[in-house]
Symmetry: C2
Amino acid sequence: MAGSTGHDGMQDTMREDDVRQEGIGQGVLELVDRWWRAANYLSVGQIYLRSNPLLREPLQAEDTKSRLLGHWGTTPGLNFIYAHLNRVIRRDNLEMLFVAGPGHGGPAVVANAWLEGTYSEIYAHVGNDEAGIAELFRQFSYPGGIPSHAAPESPGSISEGGELGYSLAHAYGSVFDNPQLVTAVVIGDGEAETGPLAASWHSHNFLDPAADGAVLPILHLNGYKIANPTILARMPEDQLEQLLRGYGHQPYFVTVQDPDNTEQAHRDFAAVLDRCLGEIKAIQDSHRQDPEAEKVGEGGHRWPMIVLRSPKGWTGPRTVDGLQVEGTWRAHQVPLSEVRTNGEHLKQLEEWLKSYRADELFDAEGRLRPDVARGAPAGDFRMSATPHANGGLLRRALKLPAYRDHAVEVPNPGTDRVSPMITLGSWMRDVIAENMDNFRLFGPDETASNRLQNVYEVTDKVWQYRIDDVDEHLARSGRVMEVLSEHLCQGWLEGYLLTGRHGVFNCYEAFVHIVDSMFNQHAKWLKVHRKLQWRQPVPSLNYLLSSHVWQQDHNGFSHQDPGFIDHAVNKKAEVIRVYLPPDANTLLSVMEHCLASTDYVNIVVSGKQPSPTWLGPADAANHCRRGLGIWTFAGSEVPGEEPDVVLACAGDVPTVETVAAAELLREGAPGLKVRVVNVVDLMRLQDDSEHPHGLPAHDFDGIFTPDKPVIFAYHGYPALIHRLAYRRTNQQGLHVHGYKEEGTTTTPFDMAMLNGIDRFTLAIDAIDRVPGLAGTHALLRQDLQDRRNRAREHTRTHGEDPKEIRNWKLGG
Amino acid sequence: MAGSTGHDGMQDTMREDDVRQEGIGQGVLELVDRWWRAANYLSVGQIYLRSNPLLREPLQAEDTKSRLLGHWGTTPGLNFIYAHLNRVIRRDNLEMLFVAGPGHGGPAVVANAWLEGTYSEIYAHVGNDEAGIAELFRQFSYPGGIPSHAAPESPGSISEGGELGYSLAHAYGSVFDNPQLVTAVVIGDGEAETGPLAASWHSHNFLDPAADGAVLPILHLNGYKIANPTILARMPEDQLEQLLRGYGHQPYFVTVQDPDNTEQAHRDFAAVLDRCLGEIKAIQDSHRQDPEAEKVGEGGHRWPMIVLRSPKGWTGPRTVDGLQVEGTWRAHQVPLSEVRTNGEHLKQLEEWLKSYRADELFDAEGRLRPDVARGAPAGDFRMSATPHANGGLLRRALKLPAYRDHAVEVPNPGTDRVSPMITLGSWMRDVIAENMDNFRLFGPDETASNRLQNVYEVTDKVWQYRIDDVDEHLARSGRVMEVLSEHLCQGWLEGYLLTGRHGVFNCYEAFVHIVDSMFNQHAKWLKVHRKLQWRQPVPSLNYLLSSHVWQQDHNGFSHQDPGFIDHAVNKKAEVIRVYLPPDANTLLSVMEHCLASTDYVNIVVSGKQPSPTWLGPADAANHCRRGLGIWTFAGSEVPGEEPDVVLACAGDVPTVETVAAAELLREGAPGLKVRVVNVVDLMRLQDDSEHPHGLPAHDFDGIFTPDKPVIFAYHGYPALIHRLAYRRTNQQGLHVHGYKEEGTTTTPFDMAMLNGIDRFTLAIDAIDRVPGLAGTHALLRQDLQDRRNRAREHTRTHGEDPKEIRNWKLGG
């Protein structure tokens, strides 16, 4: 017998009362059950069948797939929940989004999309008839077909079901600024063991019940992972209830104790679902009617959630070859693995399929019978068809205020010092002010540390727990999302973007590696998404990385890692963009470009400390448009002649050192023709056959010369520059200086020296690479070396960079 | 007034009773307080002072550092806890390890190590006198000095305090198989918001109270992060208690309500600490005396923990410039930021320092007074001196059974098919059997999926919650640690390794990116650790990556990512090793090598599906020793002559395709001299100036030729091979095929074709690259192209690879 209890001693008797009160008639639950059976049938068929899809003939071994791929275990639970959600969507005209957290939920989301008609609308070759069902079955987990997870190809999905752990964060991201939306998110109990999921439970502290929608978490305890029980399913139930209440939720338990008594399970789940939706509405009403309503943590609301305890592989074979399967880890993948060769397995499969009574569900042509089909909500209310899961449909372009009002004047390159991030923060403030329901700024407690504090002039950080007098810029609603979890920042933002809104994730450069794998999944999602005609472009994922490797005076070695760029460029070139603006105005220009773009991952790296400004507003815009360019003001070229040496740079600190090195050479080796090249858009370095931003070979050779030494000072690991430029004519002449994993708590210039990107080292390298120069300029070389040694000595003795370096300005 | 309550209604009155019962006399607590004051004094001094360390003269602006770096906020709380732990260590002769989770706890761990004498023993230039204190102060967060976090340089530390989130997992790793050890881990409330930390609370389900030690978590709620309140500190206390009880703990709260009443705080904390240690001992005793003692989740034990709620920046300036500082986020870094220029700040600093009454703590020479010094435990009981924090001291080499007993015979290369991982599992079984207290195998629910199931013949997976009849290989103790969290696997293993034991982390290749950032921190730790004479070598961190990119028939695109290798090679060459054994015997040889090594990160990638065996046991050992070699059996070279083309490969699937391509060429283009080179140790490709494993240039040119085309089939992203070989003579002749981020749910050979590493593509590339061959062998080229097309067509139609490919064997 199934039981349903809440924390406050809600008794079993509640169940039937509620069912009566809410008017869940027998007929309604029968419709739910038919839908569930149809979805289960289509799920099993996807895993097993390649012909005879409706079992109109006795099942033969040849009707089954030669390779059985896919996973059954989680599927019937997902189908069960989906069927129940449809009931309330229909009844209440709910805008609801479905997030399938458990791994390998592909058969379920696809089956339900087909039942709702969405699948055939999108994929015409998978029609609403027997031939369509046959194709639905054939394509699943089949070469050239569709994946076994919820994926971009799955209508209604915004969350890849492969890696696990991100469903709850995605769900929250989807409802921010969507007050009418309820996102039902099924969380697998395997997934629930991951760190990101464990952290996500606290997300409600960042959700404003008045201006945001609601998340209904459904923790699905089917008890097992691939080969093990799960922690949450095995801990005592009173402990689990404490845990969920500790997370701030009000859990309601639905436990399927008798797998055969599906009627009871339906009644229990329906009652609990109604109760949860009622509580959600009550919370929303109170906050929307009274802005001063009590908040969570002040004796106020607790968001409801459901714990569904049902057998893994529910309704599948109970035992196979004498071993229990239903309700165990053995139901994880394919419960009957030898249907092609084992007659008993084949017979069991046939019985299993027949147990869903397909004849009651599909007519002679294989169309869904009307008394199943009416289980689907109408039009866009279908969870498989909701525009929220195809966010490009809802996307409104950001209103981007002119950034030139925030740009700094640059009377002379290199003389003024400005923090690029503070400058950007002032523009971001205006971006936020003009897009108060369409843009958010995410960061792990670092927005002010990264110097974007100007945004707090127009908005606040969201926080629902107690707010004390000493707190600054905390409020019940706001545009800034701060939590000390890069996983949550990324997960929320992904959910926000894929439902059509815009955002920026600002992060310490080193620690963005925490979300490497989430980035992978999002970049893979975008790659597939871009090829699907029916998916509309979504806003780009914008990373704004600051507090970077060269400015870690406080933090040292653990905070020094510029490798996220390397990680990112492994992903498809059409998706990845990397920008290293050298100063404040170029940062403004780059960010404007990124915020207006769609379907990319943009990575922007910028320092936060005051640093020289190089280009005025117009020059900055032009430079960024080209992506790279020769800085004649910094070099000593003779017009019309090839330079002797090229000093190239990418990144703000390398740019300072490169310009300084050019100055040292101009002073010490007059007559030497030095070209300075600055690279903003890193992908310009790649061949145009490899990246859409790649510079054509002829243009590249014109800038970097075919054969002159190129001393390249790069922000990150040097190998990346070689990698990007490896098809270039002059790649043998390319000598890259960058971060060599030498670091500690020290001054910025000492860091540059430790890794050999300092002005002295660059100038010496130029002397050594230009034929003959080391001989004619031995004294200069020695002088540079001495000055370098003195700078190191000074830093060690005084704890700070030498004054002439700290206050360095470009001469003239 | 401070309050101390436990879940069971333990009242304030308990406190004093306990203090009396346990005999915590006033004198004992005064000693604790003196220690705390001394540690606080030394912490403030590290942040501020460069001279006049003991304030023997009135404080002058010039006595302070010109740049104020470091963080005060968390430090007094850490010092408080440390002082109290020392009391019980002394009393009970406890073996205790201290893990400082909060960020920027450096001043505290360093101060305590100095007080304990350890610091001066290790770093002779920082003596136990006034000059030593001056140096202690000077070096902190100073160029060439020490970092502001707990770090390898910090005596007593196994956990970097930079990135946050891993302290609790590290703590658990340290106590596995250390039954006598209690690890006290301070968890910052900022850190507690991270996903990995949130997941770590469940770790006790994997700890055997009989055979493992204990972890005492101390959740330090000082209320604020950099700029925000923390979630755990702001949620209602009853909710927090539910949360911690939901995690399975028994929390005891110590709340400092009056920061000035430190005596009360000492009494409260001492009483709770005694109670926790008593409960730990009771749990251990019951399990060690009775193996059938009730377990957690069966009405059995709950491990105790402490929640210390104390003001951020406790004992620091209460207000600065009229704003509250103590007890707020403003105490996070340097509370008084203008001591050099603001007389009021300087005066406040002097008062602050004097509040610790240094004259009572240090004698005229600056030595610690005996009635402070006796607060330190003796010898190795000092937490700063415990050998557990310098695990190399305790490291016992693994007993490695001869792997040749498990090696497979290879009568002919390529004819038999064996799963390398199953073969390895059989050897790992013996490794485990011979090292039952010194080795563990970690994995996220994937040990069987990765085909290492043979280990279950001798051991089990650890699990403390209920074990059901249907479960297999679950037990209260065992060598296999499975939890669906890569973060936990990595964190536990790091703690286990750094305390001197051995282990392997087996993981799906794609999802090891989840721990990219943890890998970064560990590799950085090792880099620094290796330079510290006093730190002894620790066992290597071994990654065994399977279920790799080429064998994802079930899982598809989300599971396809070979980029961890790229990520890893950015770290210091002396630390990183990467192996791609092509078959079962080479995998055995490589793993034996890795398990015997120290101070490396070894990355081993191997498929789990049956695949051709190439080398017999002796040949495999030789091949692995060389790291790469020419496979004459696969090529068609003429001895003494240069080949026309080199087919090189790294990785098991690329090796199969390369050998097959060579066979296609031998059949189709007799007379063509094809050399086949297999690379096991990827670092051999790098120049020997860049990596200790790098092959000398002359040897490299001998194998790869200086100028012949090299068609290189690589397991991962092609750019890495170019990157590693970019200094090589023949790098222009290098044509790399690898994963191009083209994937989906499809067959292995279809994956190879999608990404152009299949035999046909490789053979065609060879034809195209050898001058003249495309002209003379146009028909062969066309035939290969046709066969490739037919293979794709067959896969699309039949859902499987063509039989001649599935069953492919090397001819002759």
